[in-house]
């Protein structure tokens, strides 16, 4: 598991690209690698949870999330540039932060997860 965690950040970086469209106020997450069905891709709630728990997003941001199985793409549309930049910044660091959190959790660092909030189950 430890080896897996060490390689996780690179796997995430290599297999997910982040594209921004400043004009349309859209961020696209493009997934590469093995094709995933709708369930494997995830839903809007999971994406919001990811931004919150792994990305540290604290506030409620208005986002319109579209998931396209065909193109294996998440499109997140914002209502203003400020919100988009906020989420873009979070996404840029999210893979590293998620891998780091996992590593801390692996060695039993309960403090690291103390204030993360909760997933929507």
């Amino acid at each position: 598991m430890e080896n897996l965690i060490d390689g996780l950040k690179d796997m995430l970086k290599n297999q997910i690209s982040i594209e921004t469209n400043d004009k349309e106020l859209i961020i696209n997450l493009n997934l590469r690698g093995e094709r995933k069905n709708k369930d494997e891709l995830g839903d809007e709630t999971e994406l919001r949870d990811m931004l919150k728990i792994f990305g540290g997003l604290k506030e409620e941001i208005q986002m319109n999330i579209n998931i396209d199985e065909e193109s294996q793409k998440f499109s997140i549309k914002f209502t203003n540039k400020e919100d988009m930049e906020k989420v873009h910044k979070i996404l840029e660091n999210l893979w590293e932060r998620a891998a780091d959190l996992l590593k801390k959790a692996f060695i039993g660092d309960f403090k690291a997860i103390k204030d993360l909030g909760d997933f929507t189950e």
Binding site: M1, L4, L12, D39, E40, G42, L102, A112, I113, F119
Partner: protein, 609 residues
């Protein structure tokens, strides 16, 4: 002459004898339901080496769990990892060596249908046979099935052999119980309230597809896992939701056992705790003479008793391994050398050994006889024996003496006793040998503080190195102000810097103190307490009673100059139920010529002595 070989006995460096087979790269995964004899669908995840031709026939490793056979990971991890990749290590090692792996959720658990009255029920055990029937009917199967696992899955691996299915060729129970009463629920007759309660709580949540309890226990799993993996055809999770509804009928061990005390207490369907224990199936386990590789750790709960009892009692060809690590070998745990972090084999080293064992059984010459490899804590050495306890030991007594001393001399005075008012706040912590059943690391570095609440006795500095290998015992002549209670005895060493290092312990609920004259249900080492209702013997307040019980087996080297310390408690707050539930007893331990309390330690006679 002793058969022991003192050096080069690391079981993870053994040379095995089997022909080389084709290797594979990568594997494909599928998730399906396998129907059982009664129509219950068991969820299975199947990992098959990639690029098999129709002529390729492979053996199968079966792994039956109650903790989700495969996980639906959270995003973003789900985007890059397979549902099986969080297993440590990943299935790749097995699939690359030409094994198909079948992971199943036992009935009533995960994505499987059905319900469970308690763990390891008859129906759950029979499912193993149905699953093997399904496996050997698959086009990729060569008709051979082996099974391994750690903890619950180690027990399902062992119980698979009970079916005597001819396709099952070898089993590998790791860190598993042998006697459900003494090894996990009631060690020494004391209810392991903390573990049983937490384990039931986790089980209840897992069976309802909720990973939240992991947040407080194993945070990594909470971060990684959203739930159990549904079968491939169930993208809407309709089957999964149906299965959850059936799980509502499950019963959980805490609810079943919290008001129980005795080995022969019945569960609602009339089953007794020992009916589900592997020892109860000794005949079935021996019938086909299946080879066994079992492994455990000195500091893993009472599973170390289980491990040695399995080794002693089964006639099967058997390789047994005892290391110094926590439950499941995730963390090192040589408590005499707590800074040493490399007592565990790497996952790759470990799994390679497991595959080599299976290859030797399936394609090589097999194994003969019984061999036990064990690690001596504090010495950092692997050793080998063919019998337990090893040949070449003698027993040495240390008497409880005045001024809290341990002495080799029996007291000659007719008076001498120590009074101890039980502290119900005494605790061995939450990183002890019991909590590790949840996969936690082991840490006994708090003994100095813990011992302040205990009655202790310490020896003079040792004149020679002392290797303690085997099962020590304690004999106390005690009286109590109450008719119920418990004794927890810890064996520790004090080094030259006054650091205290725990190395083993034993405990007994005092109503079980009677030494039974009946034959034990299986061969045991040390005093036999039946834990049955008819043998319950409440103490007569203030009357001296002989109380004798075993410490958990160990192998520990105490260097010259260090001292041995015995610490006695009447409770272990963070783990065990309190006895008695009301009142606070004062225990009086006699240490005089007529009633000489003592510990008896198995000493390995060493060449340098």
């Amino acid at each position: 002459m002793s058969k022991q070989i003192i050096t080069n006995n690391n079981p993870f460096h053994l040379k095995w004898n089997f022909p080389q087979r084709r290797t594979y790269k990568g594997y494909t995964t599928s998730n399906i339901y396998i129907p059982m004899r009664d129509g219950v669908n068991i969820a299975a995840t199947i990992c098959i080496p990639q690029n098999l031709s129709s002529e390729d026939k492979l053996p199968t490793l079966l792994y039956q769990t109650r903790y989700w056979r495969a996980a639906k990971l959270r995003i973003p991890f789900r985007w890059v990892l397979k549902e099986t990749s969080i297993f440590s290590p990943t299935p790749t090692l097995f699939t690359n060596r030409g094994y198909v792996i079948v992971y199943t959720d036992v009935r009533g658990c995960g994505a499987s249908f059905g319900s469970r009255p308690y763990p390891f029920s008859k129906e759950e055990v029979k499912d193993g046979s149905d699953i093997v029937d399904w496996i050997i009917s698959q086009p990729w199967s060569d008709g051979n099935v082996v099974s391994n696992g750690i903890s619950y899955t180690g027990i399902t691996a062992e119980l698979l052999a009970v079916n005597n299915h001819p396709a099952v060729k070898a089993i590998m129970p790791g860190h598993g119980l042998w006697d459900a009463y003494t090894d996990v629920a009631f060690p020494g007759g004391c209810f392991d309230l903390a573990f049983i309660q937490l384990w039931s709580f986790v089980g209840k949540n897992l069976d309802q597809n909720n990973s939240k309890p992991f947040r407080e226990l194993i945070p990594m799993l909470w971060l990684l896992m959203k739930g159990v993996k549904a079968i491939d055809k169930d993208s809407e999770q309709k089957f999964l939701k149906e299965a959850m509804k059936e799980h509502v009928l499950n019963d959980y061990v805490y609810d079943l056992l919290c008001d129980k005390d005795f080995r022969d207490d019945s569960l609602p369907d009339g089953t007794m705790i020992h009916d589900i224990s592997p020892f109860n199936f000794k005949k079935e386990l021996e019938k086909l003479n299946l080879p066994i590789l079992s492994w455990c750790s000195w500091q893993d709960s009472a599973y170390i008793d289980a491990h040695l009892n399995r080794f002693i009692n089964l006639k099967n060809p058997h390789i047994a391994i005892i290391g110094a690590w926590n439950h499941g070998a995730g963390y090192s745990a040589d408590t005499l050398n707590p800074d040493k972090v490399d007592t565990i084999p790497s996952p790759t080293e470990r799994i390679t050994t497991w595959i080599n064992f299976f290859d030797t059984i399936l394609y090589g010459e097999g194994i003969q006889g019984k061999t036990l490899f064990y690690y001596t804590m504090g010495e950092d050495k692997w050793k080998k024996t063919y019998v337990w306890p090893p040949e070449g030991t003698k027993r040495q007594r240390f008497y409880l003496s005045e001024n809290n001393c341990l002495s080799n001399e029996k007291p000659d005075s007719e008076v001498g006793e120590d009074k101890y008012k039980v502290s119900f706040t005494a605790s061995s912590g939450r990183l002890n040998r019991w909590w590790t059943l949840l996969g936690l690391p082991i840490d006994y570095s708090n003994r100095e503080k813990a011992d302040k609440k205990l009655l202790t006795y310490t020896s003079e500095p040792l004149r020679e190195d002392l290797e303690i290998t085997g099962n020590a015992t304690i004999t106390l002549y005690l009286s109590s102000t109450h008719n119920d209670g418990a004794v927890f005895a810890y064996l520790e060493e004090i080094d030259n810097n006054e650091n205290i290092h725990y190395f083993t312990d034993g405990n007994l609920r005092l109503i079980h103190h009677k030494i039974s004259s009946e034959s034990p249900p299986y061969n045991i080492i040390g005093p036999f307490h039946s834990y049955k209702k008819k043998d319950a013997s409440p103490l007569i307040p203030n009357e001296i009673t002989e109380v004798k019980f075993g410490f958990r087996p160990t192998s520990a080297l105490i260097p010259k100059g260090h001292r041995i310390k015995l610490a006695i408690a009447g409770a272990d707050r963070d783990t065990f139920k309190q006895y008695p539930t009301e009142g606070r007893p004062t225990i009086t331990i006699a240490r005089n010529a007529s009633n000489a309390s003592y510990i008896e330690i198995p000493i390995m006679i060493r060449n340098n002595n």
